[in-house]
Symmetry: C2
Subunit: 397 residues, 2 copies
């Protein structure tokens, strides 16, 4: 029903936010001035050791909680007020999963972090399985016995209907994840990544009137020109998030059902998409032409490469099971098949090309990277023409 | 189609984020130590003069942009790749609306801020009206002339069908806003408010291992107990956001069409919901029992009161036009009518009661406020019983 649709979409958005939020401590790690002067490699290594692994682990844990939520609500058919409130309580507890996990990671010696984390997992499991139990097992019996008592009390025994006790649930554990909810969860991740970018640009980049008066002789324009590279980085990052959403949208437009493996690859792709705020911060952080900047750009290319590659992997897995998973007209050899493949391989190819060209032209790494980010939308517009021309040429030969 | 549905829901989420994001500079205003010792009133006044008005103005401006977007896509029936990419470009420009507006507010003397803001508005208008023009006016003629040329070239003039040139659009400017998109936009605002709360709790509240060792003799538990009031504030705020979403959800479940006035009241309600991160920060900021804390709690009550009151106003406007806007069973005197009214008036009443009880018992303001926030979910569970009992009693008399 419409009721449960909106409740579930909102839950998906919240869980996506919770899954992605731990990228923030990674992205906002302050590189001290003296650290910036050292090689980035060491700071990156210190980042990688705890924060990135905490991010990836919480992303996977929260995604597992989300998958359990999806399975639960595939069982439930009707949602009333009590269930909606229980669902919100469950959301609030899932909020604490990243927090307790990062507590556990920050204090590996203390039992308390581990205890909190386990308690959180157990309570979430209990709420979800309580709901499951209440719905699947007891409700039909309760409703049957109430009906029986009602009939006894009223005495109108002639009107007993053969009501189906399976009316309230529909338990199919081997059913693939609902495609609609995979889309809603993915939308949530893309939306929160966009949020983090928007927050960054809106909060820090309005110059202080006092500083403008003092340092720029009151000229707002010269103060704003100071932020030039940040605007470029913002445009580039926003375009990248938007286009990765666009390819995801195009891909799932042609998918009819998502298998388990496709869901797994989708999670991996989203985990890399969640790394994009880190990309934005890193490419902004370091002085032009330094070795740090080169490495930041290369890390960015790697993140974009994997985000695109796992989308491509979803498509390839889909092609292997094309009868169950894809619309007829995009199946192997279908009308849209070549175009879809070109669309999905654009980002991995471009990211790979940028990576190698920054290795060769290491002094121009950041401009190349931003040109790549801003040029890709136009590549998408050209792609359909190129694929048509390519196919026509192929047929001629 | 499914394609346009997902594209529009994602656009709604992004625009909601952009509308709400300017609450952040308000909420994160650092109260200097010496300011905290003064009365809150002065800092609140300095806040109110620019930042809160900037927030409210950008919220309204972005909402107007959103309404234009809704009208545009009520006209468009099919979305292809080019349109999807243009839509993303439009989103990126809308991102800059709050930024340029806050630039304009920070430098009222400079022409540059005003110029940027106007340029932004004009370009967004051009993109949207370009799309509108292209679709509504030219496309049918273009497709007709292409068809004519095709028929001339092939010469198969017998097969000319009477294709309807109005196939591509469906222009109804007096049509009320699509209910689905009002819901999606509202969900986006509630989700971004929840995000800001989650960001706050996850980023700042994991204690530093170094500090724990030094100040708390390595005892994690005593360090965490230090954060006790913040957890309480977080639980309370999250419950309030969740329950305001819940009443909104219940309300729109029974609405079939939203009139203009209902849309306007919804925007006002959402603008106050966007103030909830400010509530969370304010009630956290000040020492226990101080006058500042009392005023922070009272401001919080006022914000919650108006957020609830405008939801109630939507319902009352709906009742006045019940034939066009409401499902039959919730109309005046219907089965769910009294229950819905009780549900929607719960928050305004409780906020009002809390406001007056904090005036009387001014020393216990924060505990009363948090008890209120955490008690309301249980009130919702009791409400159905109470309304039933009340109605039964009324019939007896
Ligand atoms: K959604
Ligand atoms: K969403
Ligand atoms: K969001
Ligand atoms: K920034
Ligand atoms: K949405
Ligand atoms: K959202
Ligand atoms: K905090």
């Amino acid at each position: 029903t419409q009721s449960s649709h909106r409740l579930l979409a909102y839950s998906d958005a919240l869980i996506a936010i919770i899954a992605t939020v731990m990228i923030l401590p990674v992205a906002h790690t302050k590189f001290q001035e003296n650290e910036v002067k050292q090689e980035l490699k060491e700071s990156i290594q210190s980042l990688l050791t705890t924060k990135v692994s905490v991010y990836l682990m919480t992303f996977l844990i929260v995604t597992v909680a989300w998958a359990a939520h999806v399975r639960l609500f595939q069982v439930i058919e009707r949602i009333d007020d009590t269930l909606a409130l229980l669902n919100l309580a469950c959301m609030m507890l899932i909020t604490f999963l990243p927090y307790t996990f990062s507590l556990m990671a920050a204090f590996p010696g203390s039992v308390l972090g581990l205890t909190f984390f386990c308690a959180c997992v157990i309570v979430i499991g209990l709420i979800q399985s309580y709901v499951l139990l209440a719905i699947v097992i007891f409700l039909p019996y309760i409703s049957l016995s109430i009906k029986w008592i009602w009939n006894k009390a009223v005495g109108d025994s002639g009107q007993v209907e053969d009501t189906d006790p399976v009316l309230f649930y529909n338990y199919l554990p081997s059913e693939p994840l609902s495609k609609e909810r995979v889309e809603a969860f993915s939308d949530g991740v893309y939306a929160i990544v966009a949020t983090l970018l928007i927050l960054d640009i809106c909060e820090d980049n309005v110059p202080d009137p006092f500083v403008v008066k003092k340092e720029f002789n009151g000229s707002l324009l010269s103060a704003l020109l100071n932020y030039g590279p940040e605007y470029l980085a913002y445009f580039g990052s926003f375009a990248t998030v938007g286009l990765l959403w666009f390819t995801h949208h195009s891909l799932f437009l042609h998918v009819t059902k998502a298998t388990r493996l496709m869901g797994l690859f989708n999670t991996f792709s989203l985990a890399f998409v969640g790394g994009l705020p880190l990309v934005y911060q890193l490419t902004n952080e370091f002085p032009r032409g330094s070795r740090n900047e080169l490495e930041a750009v290369q890390i960015s290319c790697v993140i974009i490469f994997f985000a695109g590659l796992f989308q491509l992997a979803i498509w390839i897995v889909g092609l292997f099971n094309e009868r169950e998973t894809l619309h007829p007209y995009v199946r192997y050899g279908g009308r849209e098949h070549a175009f879809m493949l070109a669309k999905l391989s654009l980002y991995p190819c471009v990211a790979l090309g940028t990576f190698f060209s920054t290795c060769v032209l290491s002094r121009f790494s950041a401009p190349i990277f931003h040109m790549m980010e801003i040029g890709v939308p136009f590549a998408f517009l050209l792609l359909r023409l190129l694929v048509r021309a390519g196919l026509a040429l192929l047929r001629r030969l």
